[in-house]
């Protein structure tokens, strides 16, 4: 498989009037097309900052980020971003929320609208097209948010703790949903999370960052049966071993 994303010698320094913060230093990793990567690390290790740089919202102080071999210098069509909160717009219905991204950059084609409609149909939201976000449950809202991210057809999905605002039961269910949608649509995903279990349940590889200035401390390849759903992985005997391994790495 080819490398979809490459980060080379990334360094980021935050400036404020009183101090200079070395957030990320000497960070390198690559992500192959179709992979599901999780990034875990102590608070302040620059996880969200990293996503912002990959999305092209923030420029690294040093180093280079490429997607499909092209240098990221501003926001690109290749990347879709999903946040902790669903950020659905309460004043427009589900259809208009899902097709929000199509309103920009001349994406509002019949083909794209048809694609959005298919996604809604495929993932059980067809009946809610004319509903408003307030009428949907938290889990459904997050699913709508994912489909909204997919309608602009990004190759790479950046997931910034998208499950952490949900209650535990819903979180497990939505993790299964989101995982199967991402696999189904053949997307590459990078998930930032505090939840070690979540990272193990969802990813092919887990990148563990060191504390500030953040750099790659270790990359763990997870070897699960590819047929397992995230929920089934949690019941696998390897799950606890991985958990302990990562726990120890984060502790020191």
């Amino acid at each position: 498989m080819e490398n979809l994303l490459e980060l080379k010698n990334i360094e980021l320094i935050y400036h404020s009037p009183k101090s200079e913060t070395h957030a990320i230093k000497n960070l390198n990793f690559t992500v192959k097309s179709g992979e599901f990567i999780s990034i875990v690390g102590p608070s302040g290790s620059g996880k969200t900052t990293l996503l912002s740089m990959i999305a092209g919202i923030l420029k690294p102080t040093q180093g280079q980020i490429t997607i499909s071999g092209i240098k990221v210098s501003s926001v690109t069509d290749q990347v879709g971003y999903m946040f902790q909160r669903d950020n659905l717009f309460e004043w427009i219905n589900i259809w208009n929320n899902v097709t929000l991204g199509l309103k920009f950059k001349n994406r509002n084609t019949n083909e794209n609208r048809e694609y959005a409609k298919n996604l809604l149909e495929k993932y059980g939201l067809k009946d809610f097209i004319s509903h408003y976000p307030s009428e949907l449950s938290g889990g459904m809202r997050q699913r709508v948010a994912l489909i909204r991210t997919l309608t602009t057809r990004p190759q790479l999905l950046l997931l910034d703790e998208p499950f952490s605002a949900l209650d535990y039961q819903t979180r497990l269910a939505v993790q299964d949903d989101v995982y199967s949608i991402i696999k189904n649509e053949n997307k590459t995903a990078i998930l930032v999370t505090h939840d070690i279990g979540e990272a193990i349940a969802l990813s092919n590889r887990i990148i563990i960052l060191s504390s500030r200035p953040g750099s790659v401390k270790k990359i763990i390849n997870l070897k699960f049966d590819p047929c397992l759903t995230p929920f089934e992985r949690r019941k696998d005997h390897k799950f606890n071993n991985y958990f302990n391994e990562i726990w120890d790495l984060l502790d020191t």
Binding site: D77, Y81, F83, R85, W91, N93, L100, F104, E135, T152
Partner: protein, 271 residues
């Protein structure tokens, strides 16, 4: 699941009945309070406990409103003031909102102008009265200008704060979708602050009446403010009181219109 009324348990029906009685008694007490106060006022005036020449009385006010209505003066003066108020209300709301959008879009100017806005906000706008009259003459223009000045600063500041309180994450979301600044404005900033806009309208209903009546105190040949000043000068307190009552009714009606608008918007917002 929600049940229909027939399916409710006896306990729930009792609860609903209690709720109804409570609401009804609040309304009833409200009306009774007003009637009692009016009755006390009327009675005190009737037995000369207070001098009706100075304090007027409900019956004298009603009679005064009747005479004003018959002569056509009521409709005329009410219309003059209402017209000025609506004009001040509309112009200041529109202009203030536009200024707020401009300031929101230009952070540099927003920072530059911040202290000026604060000073303008604290300045008692009536202090500018003499200047307005000199510059704009003694007529409707000056009165509308007074109302406008009173509403404009608070409109700008409130709307600006509304725009600034929109979650950064939502803005970031649109940026990652490739939205331009103008698109962020039209798809997010403006629709998201519709609630703020309604509350500005509510504030401005009150403010524009204050401004207009103040303007009429300064310079006018007609209007309810004019009637109040005139009535005070010639000691016709019935006229003063009657004008105040009419002002109350008009301002209340205008507020009701905004409240209806708010209901429509809320319904649309929540589906």
């Amino acid at each position: 699941m929600t049940k229909k009324y027939e399916q409710f348990s006896a306990a729930h029906k009792k609860y609903l009945k209690g709720l109804k009685i409570k609401t009804f008694s609040i309304h009833l007490t409200r009306v009774l309070l007003l009637l009692t106060l009016l009755a006390i006022w009327e009675l005190c005036a009737a037995v000369n406990l207070v001098d009706p020449f100075i304090s007027s009385s409900p019956s004298r006010i009603v009679k005064q409103i009747g005479t004003l209505f018959e002569s056509g003066a009521l409709v005329y003066h009410s219309w003059v003031t209402l017209y000025e108020t609506l004009l001040a209300f509309l112009i200041s709301t529109i202009v203030g909102t536009i200024i707020a959008i401009i300031l929101y879009s230009l952070p540099f100017f927003r920072k530059v102008l911040e202290p000026y806005l604060i000073v303008l906000n604290s300045l008692p706008k009536i202090a500018l009265g003499p200047l307005i009259i000199v510059w704009m003459g003694t007529g409707t223009k000056s009165i509308v200008a007074m109302g406008f000045l009173i509403c404009i600063v608070i409109t700008t500041i409130s709307m600006l704060n509304g725009y600034l309180s929109i979650p950064k994450e939502k803005i970031l979301l649109l940026k990652t979708m490739g939205a331009s600044r103008l698109q962020i404005l039209s798809h997010l900033i403006i629709p998201a602050s519709i609630g703020e806009f309604i509350s500005v309208l509510k504030i401005n209903v009150g403010m524009s009446w204050v401004g207009t009546v103040m303007g009429e105190y300064l310079t006018s040949k007609a209007g309810l403010g004019y009637l109040i000043v005139y009535g005070g000068q010639v000691f016709k307190l019935d006229l003063v009181m009657a004008s105040i009552v009419v002002l109350c009714i008009l301002a209340g009606l205008m507020y009701a219109v905004v409240a209806i608008l708010e209901n429509i918007v809320n319904k649309k917002h929540s589906g």
